[in-house]
């Protein structure tokens, strides 16, 4: 139903990922996130094949933050940046982040162990919270393959998720 | 109770030694030392050995207080090595074996080092790092062979060090490697050099040509002192050796390392290997210059092992050979 996993246990943080469809207040949400009043990451579902993809990006972001090595300003922009194959921050945020007219979104909330603020975060969204299992309805597999440059010959030896996360893990020092 | 005499002359060291059931009775050696900047050549080396062999033989017998009658087996280096010098020494061995009517055994030089190392240190079944002017091998014993796990794919480490010593025009007395070691102790500045490990193997020619090319400029500009270059070269070369040894240990599940061969005398190499062993909970065995460096006793010791397991050499096979792989010998004594 919901996707919640523990990130790197050195830091004791959890990630929860929610799928929200038919969002009416995208512009408002975007503004709150940019301002920092809404503490979550908002992602376009078309480019996400599986919440694990976000987990890998978020995990990397948390570790970067703790090691004082983030490339972007906030944890949430760092997640979007990590999802991208490009090292251009603005492009990455635009590509993976949500626009004012987007109706469907994935929301990632990072909490300290024991914290419980997801309900609070979700309350700001004027949309329908759907089971995360419905993500495939919104993922654009062809677009994901194109964005991450994954050919069908690779998919004979790897799942799409594995291919995507491997790229996320190695983005900083490989150019594919 | 077997008394074995061993004759070694595969390179520039002439060694004759006598061993009695694991006890060294005498260990005599003469080294052919060339002027700084020069390596030793086959013909002159053979001449050197020829001129001294009989004197060294007398000395060995005298120091051991052993007569020809008491000798049980004559052992000599069959190979590998330089043909002329091997030949010179082999002729003497063959002659005395016939004169004294004793069995004769041709010994593989590398195995001589290994058996000497095992005997002197008491190590049981170590990974052997054999490093000298002509050899760089990581050896493990398995199923009656000393199998070469890793080796240099081009030149030996000793050769690499010796040639760099020539570039710096260091003295060859007592050995170029020794003088590099002394200079390296005073080195402070580290020069980054190519580090080449390929699987279990290592490659030294790239590093050598790199440092040969760069050294003139670096020394001239005053950026680096000879001490720094020696230091850097050792650090990188030895790190490569320690790494490949460690890989072999991990692959074989071994907790013992034995270093043999002339370069094994190098205290920095021993120190680095000791550190690695300590971190793995393994034990390092090393010998000193009496036995690290080519000597006759090691030939006698290996010969003795072969003798006691009935591994004699037929007369028409008492030849020498330049190329003789360590793993070509069937180890009948383990």
């Amino acid at each position: 139903m919901t996707y919640k996993i523990e990130l790197d246990s050195d830091y004791r943080k959890n990630l929860s990922v929610f799928l929200i469809k038919d969002v009416q207040n995208a512009a408002e949400i975007k503004e709150m996130v940019v301002k920092g009043t809404l503490d979550c990451c908002v992602i376009k579902p078309t480019l996400i094949i599986h919440p694990f993809q976000i987990a890998v990006a978020a995990n990397k972001a948390v570790i970067s933050k703790m090691q004082d090595k983030m490339t972007t300003k906030t944890l949430h922009t760092e997640i979007l940046y990590n999802l991208s194959t490009s090292r251009n921050i603005t492009q990455s945020l635009m590509k993976f982040g949500v626009g004012e007219s987007d109706k469907n979104m994935l929301v990632g909330v990072i909490e300290e162990s024991g914290e419980d603020r997801t309900d609070n975060v979700l309350s700001h969204f004027k949309g329908i919270i759907s089971p995360i299992e419905e993500l495939p309805k919104f993922s654009d597999t062809a677009l994901i393959k194109k964005t991450y440059k994954i050919k069908d010959s690779e998919l004979a030896v790897s799942t799409l998720t594995d291919s995507v996360v491997t790229r996320i893990a190695t983005r900083d020092f490989t150019s594919v | 109770m077997v008394i074995a005499i061993g004759f070694e002359g595969s390179a520039n060291k002439l060694g004759i030694g006598i061993v009695h059931n694991g006890v060294v009775l005498s260990n005599c050696r003469r080294t052919y030392i060339t002027p700084p900047g020069e390596g030793f050549l086959p013909r002159e080396t053979a001449q050197h050995h020829r001129s001294l062999v009989l004197a060294v033989l007398s000395q060995a017998l005298r120091e051991a207080a052993v007569t020809p009658e008491q000798i049980d087996v004559v052992c000599y280096t069959k190979g590998p090595g330089m043909a002329p010098s091997l030949q010179t020494v082999a002729i003497v061995a063959r002659t005395i074996a016939q004169l004294w009517n004793k069995p004769i055994i041709g010994v593989n030089h590398c195995i001589g080092h290994i058996e000497m190392g095992r005997m002197i240190t008491g190590s049981d079944n170590p990974i052997v790092l054999y490093v000298s002017g002509g050899n760089t091998q990581v050896i493990a014993y398995s199923r009656n062979r000393y199998r070469v796990f890793g080796e240099t794919i081009d030149i030996a480490i000793g050769n690499c060090l010796d040639r760099f010593a020539r570039v710096l025009k260091l003295s060859n007395d007592p050995s170029p490697g020794y003088n590099i070691e002394q200079l390296a102790k005073k080195g402070k500045k580290f020069l980054s050099l190519p580090y080449v490990v390929k699987g279990m193997d290592v490659s030294f020619s790239g590093i050598l040509s790199y440092i040969e090319k760069q050294s003139y400029q670096l020394l001239k500009s005053g950026e680096y002192a000879p001490e720094d270059l020696c230091f850097s070269l050792q650090e990188v070369l030895f790190a490569m050796l320690v790494e490949t040894t460690e890989r072999a240990m991990a692959h074989c599940g071994s907790q013992e390392v034995l270093i043999v061969g002339g370069v094994g005398c190098n205290l920095r190499l021993q120190e680095m290997m000791e550190t690695m062993c300590h971190e793995r909970g393994a034990k390092l065995f090393a010998t000193d210059e009496r036995f690290c460096i080519d000597n006759g006793v090691m030939i006698a010791q290996a010969g003795f092992e072969m003798f006691r397991t009935g591994n004699l050499t037929k007369w028409d096979e008492t030849t020498v050979t330049q190329r003789y792989r360590t793993d070509a010998v069937e180890v009948t004594w383990r």
Binding site: V56 | P80, S142, R247, T275, E279
Partner: protein, 241 residues
């Protein structure tokens, strides 16, 4: 700290399962997935600068090679995190796998118990030899040099239908190279590794090489020629001193 403990998550959530020459390998769960963590430890026998440099290069080479293999259509574990500070790679723990080394040992023991001949052992190993050769052929056809081919660095995954899948791992010494020499050396290293670890497997390598030739058709002639050269070099090295 104690043998497998550095003061980090690895000590607590993961179990140390192997300590190789270069790295400690841990097994556990990470981000909800069965994960292997490869931690390259500091080598205090090396100068610090040299050590850091080598470690970083090896981590990069390994990670890049894993991705390149996927792109080339070769099975490798998925990567979840590459952390230079911790000197760790977190990767997929390939399920239902055994190393080729263990597999050969197991089959060899079975063959011995059945009082089979070396020929029957070869017959049993024939299918994986074919697969290995094919995978290596593909590897080199894509100019990826593994750098450390041993039977411990190849995993065998058998599924319910008995399909054999070879998964390559341990790419720390890998690099991209189109030279025949490097490809020949890559194969030579494997041959020696097989010979020194397993008995009676000389013909196993011949089978692997055969399958390799068929897969890497374009270069097979050249690589074979170089391979024989490298092999002869090893056999004929003059060893003076």
């Amino acid at each position: 700290m104690a043998d497998d403990g550095r003061k980090c998550a690895l000590g607590y959530d993961f179990k140390l399962i192997k300590q190789g020459a270069e790295a400690k390998v841990y097994k556990g769960n990470y981000l909800g997935r069965p994960t292997i963590v490869k931690e390259r430890f500091k080598k205090s026998y090396r100068l610090l600068d040299l050590d850091n440099h080598i470690t970083k290069e090896r981590i990069k080479s390994e990670a890049r090679a894993v991705l390149r293999c996927k792109i080339a259509g070769i099975h490798t574990p998925a990567l979840y995190l590459v952390d230079f500070e911790r000197r760790c790679i977190y990767m997929e723990d390939v399920q239902n796998s055994t190393t080729i080394k263990d597999y050969i040992t197991q089959i060899s023991e079975e063959a011995e118990n059945e009082a089979g001949t070396a020929g029957s052992l070869l017959m049993k190993l024939y299918p994986i030899a074919q697969e290995i050769g094919k995978v290596l052929g593909k590897l080199h056809a894509n100019n990826i040099i593994h750098g450390d081919l041993t039977s411990s660095n190849m995993l065998l995954v058998k599924d319910e239908k008995d399909t054999l899948t070879i998964v390559l791992i341990d790419f720390g010494l890998s690099h991209v190279e189109s030279s025949m020499e490097d490809k020949a050396v890559d194969l030579y290293v494997l041959q020696r590794a097989l010979m020194s670890t397993h008995a009676n497997v000389d013909r196993l390598f011949a089978t692997i090489l055969d399958a390799y030739m068929k897969e890497n058709k374009k270069e097979s002639h050249e690589v074979l020629k170089k391979f024989n050269e490298v092999w002869a070099r090893g056999r004929k090295r003059t060893m003076v001193g």
